[in-house]
Symmetry: C2
Subunit: 291 residues, 2 copies
């Protein structure tokens, strides 16, 4: 059994809990959460109290992942996370890689669906069609990373960031906000549009009275590549999904928690991991069934 | 530079040649082919003459792959192949794994698109949706493995085996044969339908005057999984492609020839290989670009 802790018991943490419950090779030892939560395992208030676990599954807002992962790795505890700020993943991985190696443990970062499983598909498509263009089209769907980023902005009581696919990998962000009493909409709107999560996309901020009535965690992706194998063009491949977003993210984190126990010390992204390592079961049986 | 030899210079061997030409990290040292062929590198008549190469890319009919791979591995030469008899892959891999380890070299088997890249997708989908059903629907398109198997049957002058998707992973085989003078159609038809390649599928054998007029190497796949992440159902993912079959197979063999040089001794299927290993370039740059 792989002994795990869930760190952060929000949407993703609860989804990770479900994925652990549905797996036969995990034992959930505890949850770390500062807010009041009910659970059938001990709830600790700080990661500093964690001990006797194989992997900590970090279900925290991306921006607090690097520090928490660093502190756990420096104590020799393996971590997995779904850090999703694409432009910083390389840097975060390099930093955690050093700490993991120094402390003889392993970490996996950016283990969601994008970054994550989509990254694996993009890599596979490059191996199949080395020349050509890949477009990743998201949505329509709620972006959890973007929504969390908006909620962190002063004056925002509740928020929902929808990602709209405009084709060719271009997206529009539709941000619905419920304001704190007295908050200035124009200032909030400006803060959102200047945030690192939104600054590169067409972003519309809309004030609403009740964000909750708009909330649906469904999401989707259309990942497409048209390219060349050898010298032969017009090779066309696409990958589509329509999914419950936290459920898939929680599942991938748990599958990654399994994979990380099989790696040598260091920090890895999903494209650096043999796909079979994400699965439970005998290697020969898996080959017989899946290859 | 990775020094490679192409063993077998038919459809797949020529496609591998193209993929090598389009890559900057390979040097094609020679081709092994018993038939008369024209090429801009030395053509050897036997694998026993091979020396000073890193990887032999086996572009042979599946049935001659295990023996050829064994003989090269026993001389410490890495191999990659696109062996495609699904029911025997596990056994072939186990056998080659022992020989590769004994001789301190590495091999990859079943490196085409199915088995191959589709296997990677199937494995990834299992990590994302552990419970549920996957269906792999092929075609319409010419199956090279099946066509080669028919051509090997006595009385067959030329052949084309088309795979027709009937949904839910069920396929019909439409086999077009041009007979040798005096051959008995009923006997040929029976031999085809009883062959390991055909015995599990609805197979129709049709005699035609000119197989060549039917030939098109386009193929396709629709790989679909509907399943459960954690406890959340109705997660839907599909992977589709429409491709030139030998061009993609040749490219995947060449990408695998790159990957095999990065593995520890043993024999691997594609699901056991970190996807990033199939690509040329700096690991950190690839992570920055693809994750």
């Amino acid at each position: 059994m792989i002994k795990v802790a869930i760190v952060g018991f929000g949407n993703i943490g609860r989804a990770a809990y479900d994925a652990i419950s549905a797996s036969e090779d995990f034992s959930l030892e505890c949850i770390v959460e500062t807010r009041e939560v009910t659970a059938d395992v001990p709830v600790l208030s700080s990661v500093s109290e964690l001990k006797n676990i194989d992997v900590a599954i970090l279900c925290l807002p991306s921006r607090s992942v690097p520090d928490t992962a660093s502190s756990l790795l420096s104590r020799g505890i393996c971590t997995v996370d779904s850090y999703d700020i694409h432009s910083n993943i390389y840097e975060v991985r390099s930093k955690l890689d050093v700490i993991a190696k120094e402390n003889n443990c392993a970490a996996m970062t950016a283990c969601g669906w994008d970054p994550g499983s989509d990254s694996v598909v993009r890599t596979l498509l490059m191996a199949m069609l080395p020349k050509g263009l890949t477009y990743t089209n998201f949505g329509p769907g709620m972006s959890m990373g973007h929504t969390v980023a908006v909620k962190a902005i002063s004056g925002v009581k509740d928020a929902l960031s929808m990602t709209m696919p405009m084709g060719s990998g271009v997206h529009r962000r539709m941000v619905y906000v419920e304001l704190e009493k007295g908050a200035d909409f124009d200032a909030v709107s400006k803060s959102i549009r200047e945030d690192e999560y939104f600054v590169h996309d067409e972003t519309h901020v809309i004030e609403v009275e009740n964000v909750d009535m708009l909330r649906d965690v469904g999401h989707g992706v259309n990942l497409t590549r048209k390219g060349v194998s050898g010298v032969t063009g017009n090779q066309r491949i696409d990958f589509n999904m329509t999914i419950n977003n936290p459920a898939l993210t929680g599942q991938i984190l748990v599958s990654s928690a399994r994979a990380v126990t099989k790696q040598r010390p260091g920090c890895y992204t999903m494209i650096q991991i043999p796909p079979i390592d994400f699965l439970h079961g005998d290697i020969n049986e898996l080959i017989r069934k899946l290859v």
